[in-house]
């Protein structure tokens, strides 16, 4: 039974995707039923596995050539079980939610096929036991996000956004693949289990290439989790339908990068970890600043995701070589639930206002959409790290890590970013739900139908209670960390303050400070006051620090220039001068030689006689 279950988790979404594309492209209801059924099956199977706390690997050889042996295996351990729950749980909620959100859209079968393909690929990443197999699903996730972002491919913005997303991911995958090749070249194997045992036996196994391998594999994570250099695609990915943004850009896809880092944590050495930490920190800061000045509801959430991902990557980096990525995974788990809730809440607002996404045209929705407001409020508080909620505990662990490993500069950065997070989230909350209606759209807004609000409530449960489920203890077991004695829930409530008071209090202070500033600025504001105060900095933040333009000129520009040179060389010199030149020369030679035949008998006789004399002379006096 144990061998079949993992396949029962992985395969249903793939089969659903195939049957929809082949059979049900014209029947939305059948497609939806197939897709939701598949993800439900996967959820059930992963719940059973979770209950059994199953572990072990079942696999078959996918490729066996020369020195390269690639197994296609499914690996179960506490970390992957947790991720299974996150993907299938949040994914399932979003599948149901999408049925309501995309009411009447003709392309729904294609949407559900894409969603199932995405779920299959994401489950593949979580379960894969081999680095190359992970790369395969890495790319499949990339292509399914391309299909989903570009769902409304008639709209140019969506088409451009999907292309941009896939290409940026591909740049990351380029690094990832090179990392794989390097790992295989130095150790001869790509299997994670084998690599782990070999590295625990003799840590120096990777030799000089260790840092390079670490950073190259980190490239894959940077591409997928939209970290600093390759973060440009995430905001544009909001062009896709909101459930897509929720599923892909909040809960699962972007988390894949962090999951990868935790999977290959034993590979990363000290220098690689410091680089990872700084990149994470930088992304968190930048994203938070940008989020402060965005007017589009979904873009703010996108930048907030970017910022939280920066947190997780920072947590991995700061953990140090003998530490564990538990903090990052813990924050990932809690973040998945409340960020998905935020996105679905936003979706419900957008749905109610007939696809209006500019927050300065909303206002006073609290009264009209109570359920959405309450769940949105709970998720915001969790995100900012207000104590009883799950976000506080997971963020606090990261603060503690930064504090204990006396990475003082990073600690200050994290605290400052926590403040910023609270600032832009409260700005959002106040402008959208509180204050006067800033245009006539909110007047006829009404609460969303149950098919959309029920998932909101379902997701609210983990948002509030996840802090107490001891997810960090559960994760610790995968890394051999002894679980701390389980006190009553009361002790647990104040545990952070008793163990490490300074980081906990600093975090709380930042939250209160940020909330106050936002309250001051945005309570009842009709226009955004910040541009007046900050001036040019606000414009920079609004235009995303001009990274898009920089990349266009830098990477795309140079590549197109090289392409122009190559094409010109190919057209004029290689095909033109060389080939046409030769052709012309031969033709000219023919025309010239032909003129020797003047047609007059006289010349022929002369030439013949001359020929004879020439031959005789040459032969005799050779």
């Amino acid at each position: 039974m144990n061998a079949v279950l993992p396949w029962l988790v992985l395969l249903p979404p793939l089969l659903a995707a195939i049957t929809i594309t082949l059979g049900a492209l014209k029947r939305p209801v059948a497609a939806a039923r197939l897709s939701i059924g598949a993800i439900a099956l996967s959820l059930a199977a992963s719940l059973i596995l979770f209950a059994r706390d199953a572990s072990g690997v079942t696999s078959f050889t996918w490729l066996q050539v020369g020195g390269l042996a690639v197994e296609f295996g499914l690996r179960l351990d506490p970390v992957s079980l947790l991720m299974l729950l996150v993907v299938t749980g949040v994914g399932g909620a979003i599948h149901v939610y999408s049925w309501g959100y995309l009411e009447g859209d003709p392309g729904r079968p294609r949407y559900f096929a894409g969603l199932s393909l995405f779920s299959f690929a994401m489950l593949g990443i979580v379960l894969s036991s081999n680095l190359l197999q992970m790369f395969v699903f890495w790319e499949l996730v990339g292509v399914s996000s391309y299909l989903l972002i570009g769902f409304w491919h008639a709209r140019p913005a969506a088409a451009e956004a999907s292309k941009k997303a896939f290409l940026t991911n591909r740049v990351g995958d380029f690094g990832f693949l090179l990392g794989l090749v390097l790992v295989w070249a130095t150790t001869g194997t790509l299997d994670l289990g084998e690599l782990e045992t070999r590295l625990t036996v003799q840590p120096g196994a990777l030799g000089t290439a260790a840092t390079a391998i670490g950073l190259l594999i980190f490239c894959g994570a940077v591409g997928k989790s939209a970290q600093f250099p390759l973060h440009v695609w995430l905001p544009d990915a909001m062009e896709g339908p909101t459930p897509v943004s929720a599923l892909i850009h909040a809960a699962t896809m972007v988390a894949a990068g962090v999951y990868l880092l935790s999977r290959v944590f034993f590979l990363l050495d000290a220098p690689a970890l410091t680089v990872i930490a700084w990149i994470g920190g930088l992304t968190a800061l930048l994203a938070a600043l940008m989020a402060l000045q965005q007017d589009d509801l979904k873009r703010i959430l996108a930048y907030s995701t970017l910022s939280q991902l920066g947190y997780m990557v920072l947590a991995v980096g700061v953990a140090g070589t003998n530490g564990t990525p538990v903090a990052a995974m813990y924050h990932l788990a809690t973040h998945a639930s409340f960020k998905a809730l935020l996105f679905l809440g936003a979706g419900s607002v957008i749905h109610a206002l007939h696809h209006q996404q500019d927050i300065w045209r909303m206002g006073g929705l609290a009264r009209r959409m109570p359920v959405t407001f309450l769940t949105f409020l709970a998720a915001t508080l969790a995100l900012c790290g207000v104590p009883p909620l799950s976000g506080f505990y997971s963020k606090d662990v990261i603060l503690v890590l930064a504090w204990e490993h006396h990475a003082s500069l990073l600690f200050l950065l994290v605290v400052f970013v926590a403040g910023l997070t609270t600032a832009y989230m409260f700005r959002l909350l106040l402008v959208v739900f509180a204050g006067p209606a800033r245009s006539q759209d909110p007047d006829h807004a009404h609460e969303s139908p149950p098919v959309m609000t029920v998932p909101l409530l379902l997701l609210a449960v983990p948002t509030v209670l996840a802090g107490f489920w001891g997810i960090d203890a559960w994760l610790g077991r995968a890394y051999g960390v002894a679980p701390s004695p389980a006190g009553s829930w009361a002790e647990h409530l104040i545990a952070p303050f008793t163990h490490a008071p300074v980081p906990a209090l600093a975090g709380l202070a930042a939250v209160i400070l940020g909330g106050g500033v936002a309250w001051g600025l945005y309570r009842g504001a009709l226009r955004d006051p910040l541009p007046v105060h900050l001036g040019r900095l606000s414009r920079w933040m609004r235009d995303r620090f001009y990274f898009d333009e920089l990349y266009d000129r830098l990477i795309a520009g140079t590549q197109d220039a090289m392409a122009w040179v190559a094409d010109a060389f190919d057209r004029w010199i290689l095909a033109g001068a060389v080939v046409r030149g030769l052709h012309g020369a031969v033709e000219l030679g023919g025309r010239a030689l032909r003129l020797v035949q003047t047609g007059s008998l006289q010349t022929y006789a002369l030439l013949l006689a001359a020929g004879v004399v020439l031959v005789l002379a040459w032969m005799l006096f050779r």
Binding site: G590, L593, R594, Q597, L601, A605, L607, L614, V615, W618
Partner: protein
């Protein structure tokens, strides 16, 4: 085997020629076609008879003047086949002759006799007589269309330049006779070294080679070919390209490998240069050509270059390659000329552009023309490819001894690629050339023409796909030359 039994084949052909001339007096004009068909059947009969001749060992007759060996037999069968097809082309071309249809067939047969004698030449006297019989007959054949100035002009040009080359040939003969005291090839080869090194013999031999080089139109004696090929009527041009060239080749084989093997062995260098120049000249000049006959002239010059490749390798394999290549060359050239005659029936043009739209008008003719051109270009699965392949193999095999041959192999390669350009240029016109004139009527083919086309196609495909038995014949013939 008595002397006269040996030359039975030649006598039979001469007798047929005379018979055709005589019968022409009693035959009514509309039955003249049947006269040519009887001549064709007779030649076919003689061709079949030639296979009945089995030679335990080569026979030398008429006091060593005439030799009958496998090489001679191979060439006699080759000439008979060529004449057979030329007679059919001549008959199809007859409507454009002012008069004397029977005379045309007779003259073709007399030229055939000359060629068959040339195949068995073992003495400079027979070489001279046979060569002159062929050349003088061709003077008349070239200028047969008296109403067309071009035909007469070609005739005169061929006359003067032919006579000039004969002058050189005869003077060469005299010098050889002076130096060696004998006219016989084998005796010349066996003469003492003092004679072989004498400059007189070298000059004499060179002058004879000039005469033969003129015959096969090798550089620098090829200036006559383009104008004569273009001026002469189609059947004559065909016979010139195949029969007269092959006669030159067989005499060159005899002189080069039998008469003075010691001398010619040291002349490999100059031969390479001549071969390369012939190849390049023929191939380059052919590119801008608009007239099919002139294109075929330059192509025949290039093919002379390819045939000389076999001489450059100087081995039995090279000679076998030359013989096989000639077989493929025969069917290809005659296929092209037969199709040209049929396609241009009634018009006096020879422009390639006038072949436009042949693909639609008559796919059979277009197909045969394409096969012929593709075989000349040397593309499998046709005879031309295997011929060129054998030549390349023999050249590369003996290139290990003297590396100059690699250069000539490279030139040959270039020549093939460039020749592909103009051969496929004709195919282009046939299949997707712009149809200038209105939709001409589809061409109706008499059964003999259809039979001749069938023979050519069969020859091309059989030599291309199942070359084994003809290759064995060629190798057997090559063995009859005295290899050390």
């Amino acid at each position: 085997m008595t002397d006269f039994a040996a030359i039975g084949l030649e006598l039979a052909v001469a007798a047929t020629g005379l018979a055709v001339l005589l019968l022409d007096l009693w035959v009514r004009p509309e039955q003249r076609r049947w006269l040519t068909w009887t001549a064709v059947l007779a030649v076919a009969g003689i061709f079949v008879a030639s296979f009945a001749l089995t030679l335990p060992e080569p026979a030398r007759l008429f006091g060593g003047l005439y030799v009958l060996d496998e090489l001679a037999l191979f060439f006699k069968r080759f000439f008979l086949l060529a004449a057979l097809l030329v007679l059919v082309v001549g008959q199809e071309f007859a409507d454009r002759f002012p008069a004397g249809h029977a005379e045309y067939s007779a003259l073709t047969l007399f030229a055939l006799t000359g060629m068959m004698f040339a195949a068995s030449a073992n003495d400079f006297v027979l070489l001279f007589v046979a060569l002159e019989l062929v050349t003088i007959t061709f003077y008349v054949l070239t200028s047969f269309q008296r109403r067309r100035v071009a035909s007469l002009e070609a005739g005169v040009k061929y006359l003067i330049l032919g006579a000039l080359s004969t002058g050189f040939l005869v003077y060469g003969l005299a010098l050889i006779f002076g130096a060696a005291g004998t006219m016989n090839f084998e005796q010349l080869a066996a003469s003492p070294p003092a004679v072989l090194e004498s400059r007189l013999l070298t000059v004499g031999l060179l002058l004879v080679l000039v005469g033969l080089a003129f015959k096969i139109a090798a550089v620098p004696f090829q200036f006559w070919a383009p104008d004569v090929y273009e001026g002469a009527p189609l059947p004559t041009t065909a016979f010139l390209a195949v029969g007269s060239k092959a006669a030159g080749i067989v005499l060159l084989l005899r002189v080069w490998f039998v008469a003075a093997p010691a001398l010619t062995a040291s002349w490999a260098g100059p031969l390479l240069v001549v071969t390369a120049l012939t190849l390049l000249y023929g191939v380059l000049c052919a590119i801008p050509q608009r007239s099919l006959k002139r294109l075929m002239a330059y192509s025949s010059i290039a093919n002379a270059g390819f045939l000389l490749l076999g001489f450059c390798s100087g081995s039995a394999a090279g000679v076998a390659a030359v013989l096989f290549y000639l077989g493929g060359y025969l069917f290809a050239v005659l296929a092209i000329f037969l199709v040209a005659t049929l396609a241009w029936r009634g018009t006096d043009t020879d422009a390639i552009a006038d072949l436009a739209g042949l693909g639609q008008r008559s796919p059979l003719l277009a197909g045969v023309l394409t096969l012929g051109l593709v075989s000349l270009a040397g593309v499998p699965p046709l005879a031309g490819f295997f011929g060129k392949f054998l030549l390349l193999k023999s050249v590369l095999a003996s290139a290990t001894l003297h590396p100059g041959l690699y250069a000539v192999a490279a030139v040959a390669l270039l020549a093939v690629v460039i020749s592909l350009y103009y051969y496929f240029g004709v195919i282009r016109v046939v299949y997707w050339g712009q149809q200038a004139a209105a939709q001409q009527p589809p061409i109706l083919l008499a059964w003999p023409a259809r039979a001749a086309l069938g023979l050519c196609v069969f020859g091309l495909l059989w030599l291309g796909c199942f070359p084994a038995n003809v290759l064995n014949l060629a190798q057997l013939a090559a063995q009859s030359l005295p290899w050390r």
